[in-house]
């Protein structure tokens, strides 16, 4: 919402400085977005005379001007493309070095097709006066040569643009803003009653009707019209043109300018029809599919049945409350006009506005709610200006339908202000503030009755009144008060699940993995590859094909990221994400997962070739180590979980595993990515990954004490014994460990595999696995026979479990 300080002062009697006004606006909730001191921006533009205009020798559409800038020097040569430049005209000149705000450049000496150009004659657009760029500004012949343009047009004003929140339609007007400022005491509102203009030309004869099937909630419940006869649609007087130019509007003709002026001045949009162009009955109705409107912005709009239109017997002649049509618009030949002042449903206006994309001043106001009781005032104000400027005789106002503003009375406990804000305000002060805003207060004591003005539909209950008082007093006046502590020392903040995610991130990062955060939605193809892609998880209005489906896994995005990084030339990497996946659209279908991938040669100790180590391919155990480390931090020993050779749908069937605590409690999958999946992502393997469901980890049990069980440290030395077994290749090493351990649970504290060997003298389908068994005596040193017995038991157990034999 744009206005100027001078305009504001036509409604606000104030001695406040511009700075005070600007600060106050922001602090009462009318956020100042822009302040433009126009005189300052345009101070270097001067009035000059074109002494000669000749055709450019080398260009058809250009002229070479000789310009007198009034400074007494030689005439200045200017190459000019404006069709209206002619010998003898007065215009606005910019010398080289001047910043041209409307074109955003600083003027330099130029040579245009062989002719020097040492300045510019400017258009309105170049001076930000309007959008007009069809020709250069043409001033009256008596314009004073050499004088600053801003002084000539008395441009000394400051333009302010404030953001109006959706609830404050009343401040989409200079008058409304003045009223809000007046409540702070910074000035007094000039609130003179608007006088009725006597109707001297009888009845408004044009028939007007509301034709809505929905009689309860018509999109246009109120339509007032007034015929004004025998006018002359002249140019607006300077003061009116200036008002509009100051806020960036282009003056068009008196009738249009007057309606624009009242729209801004009072927040009351109006429309003028050329009465002689209206065919038959003027009426408001819902549009019909297939109808079109040639609108005043010279564009054609498709009308549908959700839109409220103004029509006559010829069809639609306007989009109600948004924009008029060309067929009935006023022009210089207009002599009889019909003034329209109606009320349109804000929701319907907003929908139609979004559908058509029209951002008009009328839409801006109607969608924020226009006070229905301003209808008559709007017509009277417009009539007064039309009669003053265009002459003519006014007919009687014809009002069809009605829209009564809601009457609201709120029982307001005065203590409510302090309860919600902490601010102490006396009743006297409350009364002054609210009265100046247009509220009526009655009663005394702790609870008063407050009547809400018709222009404030947003005030519905006590809290709304509190906000009114608070914003006028100033939020900065509210004393800052510490929030009382709920307990001495703050309690633990994170839930186990939140803590798990935090720790999982840190654990994986300590292993050299980098955390990515990727979009929760992925392409349908990727979702399907990873077991997702269900219709219930597909967006109805995705903004891109690769953002259509909620992800069933974190891996597709990580693989896409790997592919992008490799294409940028970074072929080794280790990345992870801890985030949500979506197994179905219910609340429980959203799970917290952690996933990581390693690609290229990014092993934990680094990637690529290095003097300390050979570059080896990534394998299953690299990613198992990452998963194990993360699980360890989260309290789960991976070796105590079941690791089963069941590949995930994305995994290499022989080089991947499932980790679970039981068949119904799957913690995750890890291993190499399936080569055919890699191909879909333009990747080459081996590429290893894990996917873990953090929500499946056992919840920590609540313990009565934090004390750990006593430690028993044996004084007796542990013994180590090594064994090697030759077994079939598909025997799991873990089974050998298990068998060895079970051979004597009391004495064997640990079993480690220290060598796995294939080939050599071994048969083709055999491998040798060497284990180291640690035997921990409990209360006495073991005799040789006892050790022998344990060893024999180990050999027997392993051979039995694996059908292997001890290697001699």
């Amino acid at each position: 919402m744009k206005f100027t300080i001078n305009w504001l002062k036509t409604h606000l009697d104030t001695k406040a400085s511009n700075e005070e006004i600007i600060d106050t606006l922001t602090m009462i909730g009318l956020e100042v977005e822009e302040v433009t001191d126009q005189a300052k921006i345009l101070e270097n533009f001067t009035i000059a005379k074109v002494i000669e205009a000749k055709k450019h020798p080398n260009a058809d559409k250009l002229q070479v001007l000789l310009v007198d800038d009034g400074k007494g020097g030689e005439p200045i040569k200017v190459v000019c493309g404006a069709p209206n430049a002619k010998t003898g005209m007065m215009g606005v000149f910019a010398s080289t070095g001047t910043y041209i705000p409307g074109a955003d450049f600083t003027l330099k000496k130029g040579n245009i097709r062989g002719e020097q150009s040492n300045g510019m004659m400017c258009s309105e657009k170049e001076l930000l006066l309007s959008d007009d760029h069809e020709g250069i500004i043409e001033l009256l012949n008596d314009a004073p040569l050499g004088v600053k343009y801003v002084d000539y047009v008395k441009m000394d004003d400051v333009m302010i643009d404030v953001a109006i929140t959706p609830n404050r339609g009343d401040c989409a007007s200079v008058f409304g803003i003045a009223r809000d400022i007046s409540a702070t005491g910074l000035g007094n509102l000039k609130d003179e009653p608007i006088k009725a203009i006597p109707a001297s030309a009888g009845e408004t004869t044009i028939p007007i009707e509301l034709r809505f099937e929905d009689k309860e909630n018509p999109a246009c419940p109120l339509f007032a019209g007034r015929l004004i006869k025998n006018i002359k649609n002249v140019s607006s007087p300077n003061w009116l043109q200036q008002r509009l130019r100051d806020i960036g509007l282009r003056p068009i003709n008196a009738l249009v300018d007057i309606t624009n002026f009242i729209t801004y001045d009072r927040g009351r949009p109006l429309h003028v029809f050329d009465a002689d162009k209206i065919a038959g009955t003027l009426h408001a109705r819902m549009g019909k599919n297939g109808e079109k409107l040639e609108a005043l912005d010279n564009k054609s709009y498709d009308i549908d049945e959700t839109m409220c239109v103004i029509a006559d017997d010829s069809g639609t002649i306007g989009l109600g409350g948004i924009m008029g049509g060309i067929s009935t618009s006023s022009d210089e030949n207009t002599t009889n006009v019909l003034l329209e002042c109606a009320w349109f449903d804000p929701i319907n206006i907003a929908k139609t506005g979004r559908k058509t994309g029209i951002n008009s001043d009328a839409r801006y106001r109607f969608e924020r709610y226009v006070d229905p009781s301003s209808t008559r005032d709007g017509i009277e104000l417009a009539t007064k200006l039309i009669l003053e400027i265009c002459g003519g005789e006014a007919c009687e106002i014809k009002v069809i339908g009605e829209k009564n503003p809601k009457e609201r009375i709120i029982n307001f406990p005065l203590a409510e202000i302090e309860r919600l804000t902490g601010l102490k305000v006396s009743y006297a002060e409350i009364k002054v503030i609210l009265t100046r805003l247009g509220f009526w207060l009655s009663g005394s004591g702790e609870i008063v009755k407050i009547a809400v003005p018709t222009w404030r539909p947003d005030i519905e209950q006590k809290a709304d009144i509190v906000e009114e008082v608070m914003r006028i007093v100033g939020v900065d006046k509210i004393p800052v008060e510490p929030l009382p502590a709920l307990s001495g020392v703050a309690k633990k903040m994170l839930t186990p699940s939140q803590n798990n995610r935090r720790l999982a991130r840190r654990a994986l990062a300590t292993r050299g993995l980098k955390e990515a955060i990727t979009y929760s939605f992925i392409s349908q193809q990727d979702a399907k590859l990873f077991g997702g892609g269900d219709k219930s998880l597909r967006l109805a209005n995705a903004i891109a094909n690769d953002m259509s489906d909620m992800r069933p896994s974190l891996l597709p995005s990580l693989l896409r990221a790997a592919s992008r990084n490799i294409n940028r030339g970074f072929s080794d990497g280790a990345i992870f994400e801890v985030g949500q996946v979506f197994l179905d659209d219910s609340e429980n279908g959203q799970k917290n997962y952690a996933s990581a991938i390693r690609y290229g040669s990014a092993k934990i100790n680094g990637a690529g070739r290095h003097w300390q180590s050979k570059a080896e391919k990534l394998d299953f155990y690299d990613i198992k180590a990452d998963l194990a480390a993360m699980f360890d931090v989260l309290g789960q020993d991976i070796e105590k979980a079941q690791i089963i050779a069941e590949p995930a749908i994305w995994a290499h069937p022989g080089r991947s595993a499932k980790v679970q605590l039981g068949p119904k409690n799957i913690l995750g999958h890890f291993g190499e990515i399936h080569p055919s999946i890699l191909a879909k992502f333009d990747l080459e393997g081996p590429l290893v990954a894990f996917e873990a469901n953090l929500d499946a980890l056992p919840k920590p049990r609540k313990k009565a004490t934090k004390s750990k069980p006593p430690i028993s440290l044996s004084d007796l030395m542990a013994l180590k014994r090594d064994f090697a077994f030759v077994v079939d290749k598909d025997i799991a090493g873990a089974d050998i460990i298990k068998a060895a351990k079970n051979a004597n649970k009391a004495m064997i504290s640990q079993v480690n595999i220290f060598d796995v060997f294939e080939g050599g003298n071994l048969e083709k389908n055999k491998k040798s696995i060497a284990i180291e068994v640690i035997i921990q005596p409990k209360d006495k040193t073991l005799t040789d026979e006892e050790i022998e017995t344990i060893s024999a038991a180990i050999i027997k157990a392993v051979e039995k479990a694996t059908a292997g034999i001890l290697r001699g």
Binding site: P166, D476, V480, A509, K514, R538, M550, A561
Partner: protein, 362 residues
């Protein structure tokens, strides 16, 4: 055996010891003198054939020689060891300039959004808040209706909000546009006093340099029987000071409008934009940073609380934006692109853990 020959033998042996150049020769010499058949041992065996008087004189002399020889051998041994060690050490020289592979803790990174969530959590943990969470896929009811959005609010259009296809009951789920549904969930499930922050992913149909279709928000909610805007100001000012790690920060609370709070405010922080760099807590400019207000009475009612009994405030801000302001990233889209160079540069080391006792950032 005469004294003279004993002396001669002694001299000879001692000079031999001094002349020995290596460990093995010394060992040979030891065997040759003190060994079973050694020259000095042989002298000892002559004692048995001597007369008692003779023995009385020669015994101590021979023994003294034996001890002296043993001692000299040991001394020489130590000397030779020292020489040997010196030689070995001289040969044991490595190239100390070869670079290591980087340690995993130096290449791992935490994403700035996770880091900033930890920072925010640390600050609010100090004020007794806990963390509440809710699902990303929400109902229209919790995302809009319960939060006092009128039925025809533009945010409810396909233009702004991601929707799923309607289910068999015609209900259309959506991706939450803010974390505010968690406010309703919390108020419905928890008795006041409530003090929570609600970080999480949020979604809107938007995409340019400063808007991505997914972003992160954190909201705060305090509900009890006495909390008012004075407390809200304190909490936010303390948070901003602590988060931006400045001693003082000027804030400006401007009245504004949100459907779910009344009164509503936007908060600007003092900043300095000169020199093309944004500095929070200095200068004379203002930067809008968050929205807040007292929870709207309709929202309290929708969550089953009586607005004449319970009251409190809520606030919300963009986590990605806070990260950008504090750590200087310019383009939001890069947050979700997983470019390893970006992660390396803007990410945090795994053990940079924000705490109140150790500081939010190093």
């Amino acid at each position: 055996m005469s004294d003279i020959s004993l002396e001669q033998l002694g001299e000879q042996v001692l000079s031999d010891i001094k002349a020995v150049k290596d460990k093995n020769a010394l060992e040979q010499l030891r065997v040759g003198t003190l060994g079973k058949k050694g020259s000095v041992s042989a002298l000892l065996s002559t004692l048995g054939k001597m007369s008692p008087d003779e023995r009385k004189i020669m015994g101590p002399k021979i023994n003294a020689l034996k001890q002296q020889v043993a001692k000299e051998i040991e001394t020489r041994q130590n000397e030779l060891r020292a020489i040997e060690l010196e030689l070995r050490l001289k040969s044991e020289k490595i190239d100390i300039s070869l670079p290591l592979q980087p340690a995993p803790t130096s290449t791992g990174r935490i994403h700035p959004v996770s880091q900033v969530i930890d920072e925010i959590s640390a600050v609010f943990s100090g004020m007794g808040f806990s963390i509440a969470e809710g699902p990303d896929i929400e109902s229209d009811e919790l995302n809009f209706t319960a939060l006092n959005f009128p039925p025809d609010h533009p945010a409810r259009e396909m233009h702004d909000t991601f929707f799923f296809e309607p289910d068999e009951n015609g209900e259309r789920k959506l991706l939450r546009t803010h974390t505010s549904p968690v406010q309703i969930r919390t108020m419905k499930s928890q008795e006041p006093p409530i003090r929570v922050i609600m970080p999480g992913r949020t979604y809107r149909c938007d995409s340019d340099q400063t808007h991505t279709p997914m972003f992160h928000q954190v909201e705060g909610l305090v509900i009890d029987k006495s909390t008012h805007i004075g407390h809200l100001r304190w909490v936010l000012e303390e948070f901003l000071k602590s988060f931006f790690e400045v001693d003082n920060i000027k804030t400006r609370f401007r009245p504004s409008f949100f459907p779910f709070t009344e009164p509503s405010m936007e908060v600007d922080v003092q900043c300095d934009r000169s020199g093309g760099e944004m500095k929070i807590g200095q200068g004379s400019d203002w930067l809008e940073i968050l929205g807040c207000g007292m929870v709207h009475p309709n929202v309290l009612r929708n969550a089953g609380l009586d607005p004449d009994v319970y009251q409190g405030f809520a606030f919300g801000m963009g986590i990605d934006r806070l990260a950008m302001l504090k750590y200087g990233m310019a383009d939001l889209r890069a947050f979700f692109d997983a470019d390893v160079r970006w992660m390396e540069h803007y990410g945090f080391r795994p053990l940079d853990m924000p705490t109140l006792f150790g500081g939010l950032s190093s």
